[in-house]
């Protein structure tokens, strides 16, 4: 417990200043009726009391990223970030998702340098979820509102102050080297407050459902009629995929400025729910129906990803649950398969 520090919220500016001296800082910012991650330059801009509408993946895997630009046949590659990235105020679910994305982009024969150049040296500072929202189900995924996987530093909001705990060497290193942040030692009262906050958050979530056998169940569900039922109502839009912190499919597009020799090659998010995703130039499409596409999405998360990386590609952040226009609730989908299997 001796590792835990306390920081008065009104001194958060010092923490932010220390981060800004070493990092480009991203955090949840409220603007235009939405809470989204954005680059911040002061503590005032941060909104730490609710989860973001969009996930944090875009910080490291932007929706649109330039691979190269060209003019008159000469290509140029944009340089990487000048400073490493720090994220302050990410929720435990999103912090966990970054570890999953890192498995996709940062491991294997090919290292995706667009990802690693941002993520490799990043400092991830999460804040526990005092009030999990409707639709949150991180507890199904062996996570909780105060999980620390993927975090370098974890914060707990106890009202006027934050408790600060390092969860990695990188996090400890930063905290130890930042003398100018006025940390204090938490009192026993602070610690019990934190325990209370955590308990309240955990108990406010709906009951955990054990989905550890979902991979095996889906192995046998390829021909299930449930796929037809789901496809019947699914709109094939990309709400679930684009809000999802672990969905990572993308497209590569060339764009030329009309009337010039200038253009760019970009990588942009894409979704397996779109019919064009797999459609070949010849017109042939291996996944031409909504049924095949929704099966792909569910299988990728709860079966294929488990096969390849040993874990489910879902962190239970609940964004798809809350935002699906037809209430095609992934919790319900998984439960239905579990019940049938």
């Amino acid at each position: 417990m001796s590792d835990i520090l306390k920081l008065d919220k009104k001194r958060l500016d010092k923490f932010v200043a220390a981060l800004l001296s070493e990092y480009r800082l991203f955090g949840p910012v409220e603007a235009n009726g939405l809470t989204r991650f954005a680059e911040v330059e002061s503590a005032d801009a941060l909104k730490l009391d609710s989860n973001t509408d969009e996930s944090a993946k875009g910080i490291f895997f932007p929706q649109v990223e330039t691979i190269l630009t060209y003019e008159n046949g000469k290509t140029e590659t944009p340089s990487g970030p000048d400073k490493p990235i720090a994220v302050l105020g990410i929720r435990p679910c999103d912090a966990r998702s970054l570890l999953m994305l890192d498995k996709v982009f940062g491991t294997g024969k090919y290292n995706d340098s667009c990802w690693t150049r941002r993520y490799e040296n990043a400092l991830i500072i999460s804040v526990g979820c005092n009030t999990p929202r409707a639709g949150c189900f991180c507890n199904w995924l062996d996570l909780g509102p105060f999980s620390k996987q993927g975090s370098d530093i974890a914060l707990t909001d106890i009202g006027d102050a934050l408790l600060v705990e390092s969860c990695s060497e990188k996090g400890r290193g930063f905290l130890e080297s930042s003398d100018e942040i006025p940390f204090r030692k938490p009192t026993d009262d602070d610690l019990s407050k934190a325990a209370g906050v955590r308990e309240h958050a955990e108990s406010s979530m709906e009951d955990k459902v054990d989905i550890s056998s979902i991979k095996a169940v889906l192995d046998k569900s390829w021909d299930s009629s449930l796929w037809d039922e789901l496809a019947g109502k699914c709109l094939s839009c990309a709400v679930c995929a684009y809000l999802c912190p672990t969905c990572h499919c993308f497209d590569i597009q060339d764009e030329k400025m009309p009337g010039t020799s200038r253009g760019r090659r970009i990588r942009i998010w894409d979704t397996c729910m779109a019919p064009q995703f797999t459609k070949e130039a010849s017109g042939h499409n291996p996944r031409p129906t909504g049924k095949k596409r929704i099966r792909q999405r569910v299988m990728h998360k709860f079966n294929y990803f488990v096969d390849v990386f040993g874990e489910i590609a879902c962190v239970g952040c609940g964004r798809c649950v809350r935002s699906c226009p037809v209430n095609l609730d992934i919790r319900y989908v998984i439960k239905r398969f579990m019940d049938a299997g």
């Binding site: 009726g33 929706q63 009030t131 409707a134 839009c237 990309a238 709400v239 019919p275 226009p325 037809v326």
Partner: protein, 320 residues
């Protein structure tokens, strides 16, 4: 609404029993008290899963094309005013045959904008709700809030003139008369007062939130193109990025393509995960069409849609 639900279930059960329809598109309770989900009922035993209340926001018309297999018999559809108008528009546009559809009209008092309700409850799980006159009371594990219904209604419902479908085959309880004129809509009036550059700035601000998920398009009954222009790759009409110029073109072309067809059901706006105000632009275009061509979409299946008709008297001042 309990009565309406009982009558609805009974009616659907009978329609299926008597084989007047082969399936019915309706709403079932969703995964939370404030959500409903589209459902397709083929077996009379399942009729009891039908619900109807303020959470039934999806425009079900778009499922008609998916659901109606040839030679299968009539398809029933539970239709609020706006769903009914979309069905009428489908008939007018030759997308479905009148005799293939059985319109089950249902009285609508407006539907909930889920995001608004969510904001009012700080995102907490609502386990039950009840309507008390003009109030909606939302109840969760350790809270209860009473809200003005108007504040959580979908924007399109606040300005709705047609609570009941203009055409129906059966009606659950009694149809409500269309309002003699459009309800006052402060938001729209204020929007109209803006000059062109202010309007442009408004939409730039709204569309800057767009992530190109196409939920608006896919939830829209009128966006039924086999292949949307944004998805065409040869030729590719414009970029797929979220640069403002690309997102603006998408939304502008979409609204032009639904001009004179949009029934202002608000499905697009409710589907948007980022709360983009799409309704004002739709409404503005709808008004233009009414003023220019005296046409209101989705009222008369036999009337030629505005964009499919030509009249020498049409205003042409935009032709230089």
């Amino acid at each position: 609404m309990a009565d309406v639900e009982q009558v609805l279930r009974e009616t659907v059960r009978k329609l299926l029993q008597e084989q007047k329809v082969c399936r019915v598109i309706g709403y079932a309770r969703g995964s939370s008290a404030l959500r409903s989900t589209p459902v397709f009922i083929e077996d009379e035993k399942d009729a009891d899963s039908l619900v109807f209340d303020i959470t039934c926001g999806n425009n079900l018309t778009q499922y008609l094309k998916k659901c109606g297999k040839a030679g299968d018999g009539r398809v029933g559809i539970v239709a609020k005013g706006c769903d009914g108008r979309a069905v009428v528009q489908y008939i007018a546009e030759g997308q479905v045959k009148r005799e293939g559809i059985l319109i089950i009209g249902i009285p609508c008092e407006g539907v909930l904008d889920h995001r608004k309700a969510c904001d009012k409850t700080q995102g907490r799980e609502v386990s039950e709700y009840r309507i008390e006159g003009e109030k909606v009371v939302l109840k969760g594990k350790d809270f209860e809030v009473s809200l003005d219904k108007f504040d959580v209604l979908s924007d399109s419902c606040r300005r709705c003139r047609y609570p009941s479908p203009p055409v129906h085959d059966v009606f659950i309880t009694e149809p409500k008369e269309a309002a003699s004129q459009e309800p006052e809509c402060k938001e729209f009036d204020e929007f109209e007062k803006l000059d062109a550059s202010e309007r442009w700035a408004f939409f730039e601000n709204e569309f800057s939130k767009c992530i190109r998920c196409y939920a608006c398009r896919n939830a829209c009954p009128m966006c039924y193109c086999e292949e949307c222009f944004v998805d065409q790759s040869n030729p590719q009409w414009f970029g797929k990025s979220t640069d403002l110029s690309d997102t603006m073109i998408f939304h502008i072309v979409r609204v032009l393509h639904t001009a004179g067809r949009c029934v202002d059901c608000g499905a697009c706006e409710r589907a948007c995960p980022l709360g983009i105000n799409l309704g004002l632009l739709n409404k503005k275009v709808e008004k233009e069409i009414q003023e220019r061509f005296g046409y209101t979409s989705g009222l008369d299946p036999d009337e030629t849609p505005a964009m499919a008709a030509f009249d020498e008297e049409d205003k042409q001042e935009f032709i230089l």
